[in-house]
Amino acid sequence: MLEIKNLHASINGKEILKGIDLTIKDGEVHALMGQNGAGKSTLSNVLVGNPAYEVTEGSVIFNGKDLLQMKPEERAHEGIFMSFQHPIEIPGVSMVNFMRAAVNAKRKYHNQEPLSASEFLRLMREKRKVVELDNKLANRAVNEGFSGGEKKRNEIFQMAMLEPTFAILDETDSGLDVDALRIVAEGFNKLRTPETSAMVITHYQRLLDYLKPDIVHVLLNGRIVKTGGPELATDIENKGFDWIKEEVGL
């Protein structure tokens, strides 16, 4: 699915990623943990082609294609989705128009006819249920006036609409109360298939209890310094990162 090799990236001239190697196979869920400022969001943004970040070295192959050569929208059409740590508000653009433009752009890329108005609204209705997104929210402008939790729910709703093969969840659990966390996590699990993979960034065990990652990585200071099974997340929950820092001499 995804093969990252020796990836270096910087923002405003400051190097943040200092050589990331990471391979994610079809069907796998990887968790990415690490202290604030370690570079987790930077890695996510580089993968989806955020122009604010500059890749200075390394390669990323996604399903056999050179990801770094693609525009952000092409990466989306190829099946990559990112649930933003801080979803953006877009006043004046309705959720309906936004999603219709997104869904039909992807269909066009894959040489499919655009959805008719009624087909599209039916799809919206069906996918809203995945995360129990209120109809009122679906009729508003994108994220405008949404609470923190509603924004995160809306991210997973959009994921349901777009059916990506590789999803990045960047702290989707932060700002969610326990019930909302369960709904969002269960919604995510409903969208999983044996072919879809994910990279899940979180600080908390609770989300991982639902998502059951295959592999857990620790990102510190721009590098992946430790990789293990689900038990690594439990260790971090109990002991923090200091012991890992000592282990790797940071």
Binding site: V48, P72, A76, F81, I90, N97, F98, A101, A102, K106
Partner: protein, 308 residues
């Protein structure tokens, strides 16, 4: 000029009068489309008077449709509006001319007590346009709403100079002008709110917001409050910004192509003006025109969602 409505008369010197007598409510919008016949002079002096008497109600649409000709076309428009006591009037002016046209327009509104007037000035296509709009709130409790939308690109230049004159107490004014400037376009907004000495309890809100989407387009804005009364609620503000890069990227991440994302943002921006129009059927028509206008900038966008 076309019209043919019972409320419209034209005098020998060419002046157009739209007169709605006392208590009369005109439900259907009165539409006037201004075109130029090839045999008419290049320079046109246009005189229009709109009189809506006491407790009368009307909606008037003025479409300025001067097309390209053999030589420089030039319009000088004088529009006088008198809104009688307790009357209700909406005037929607839409300019769809072309890049070589020169338009100078002057609108003067005289509002009597408790009259409510909404004026829209929408510039969809223009060459050089200078609009002056003056609203005198001469009767207590009068309310005026000035709305403006400008879409300009190429070397177009659009100026709006407005003055709202709170001459007596307890009047309300609302003003919102929004510009979307592309390429080398130049926009000018000068908005003066004058609250005279005796005009206590005046309420006024003035906003000018501008989206300058290239490095070469320029916007000049100068909102100004001049207040000589002490018991008033007045606010004004102006902003000049670019397209929101983060919003563009968010849309791209969802698969919306960059150019289409830009158009969606421009449409959303100017849409706020249109959303304020009381006449929904006309607002819908304008949204359609604006979509077409925004897409026209990008000949390659033929199949984007907005252009269908």
């Amino acid at each position: 000029m076309t019209g043919g409505h019972q409320y419209i008369t034209q005098s020998a010197d060419g002046k157009l009068l739209i007169h709605v007598p006392r208590n009369e409510r005109v439900e259907q919008p009165i539409r006037i489309t201004i075109e130029r016949r090839p045999d008419e002079p290049l320079e046109e002096h246009r005189d229009i008077e709109i009189r809506v008497d006491e407790s009368a109600e009307a909606r008037i649409i003025l479409n300025d449709h001067i097309k390209e000709a053999d030589g420089q076309t030039h319009t000088i428009q004088n529009l006088q509006i008198v809104a009688g006591e307790n009357s209700q009037l909406e005037v929607y002016e839409v300019e769809e001319t072309y890049s070589g046209h020169l338009r100078e327009s002057s609108i003067v509104v005289d509002q009597q007590a408790y009259s409510r007037v909404t004026l829209l000035s929408l510039t969809l296509q223009a060459g050089k346009t200078v609009n002056h709009t003056v609203a005198h709130l001469n009767g207590q409790g009068a309310e005026v709403t000035l709305l403006g939308g400008v879409l300009a690109d190429g070397t177009q230049r659009v100026e709006n100079h407005t003055l709202i004159d709170h001459a007596v107490p307890e009047c309300t004014s609302n003003e919102l002008y929004k510009y979307v400037l592309d390429e080398n376009a130049v926009g000018v907004f000068e908005g003066r709110i004058l609250v005279q000495k005796d005009a206590q309890k005046s309420i006024s809100q003035e906003t000018n917001a501008n989206l300058v989407s290239t490095k070469t387009a320029r916007m000049f804005t100068q909102p100004a409050l001049e207040i000589y009364a002490d018991d008033v609620k007045c606010n004004h503000g102006a902003t000049v910004g670019q397209l929101d890069e983060q919003a563009l990227f968010y849309m791209q991440q969802r698969g919306i192509p960059y150019d289409e994302a830009r158009m969606l943002l421009k449409f959303a921006f100017i849409g706020e003006v249109i959303d304020r129009l009381p006449l929904e059927s006309f607002a819908e028509r304008l949204r359609h025109l604006i979509e077409k206008r925004i897409c026209g900038e990008l000949p390659s966008c033929g199949d984007c969602k907005l252009c269908k």
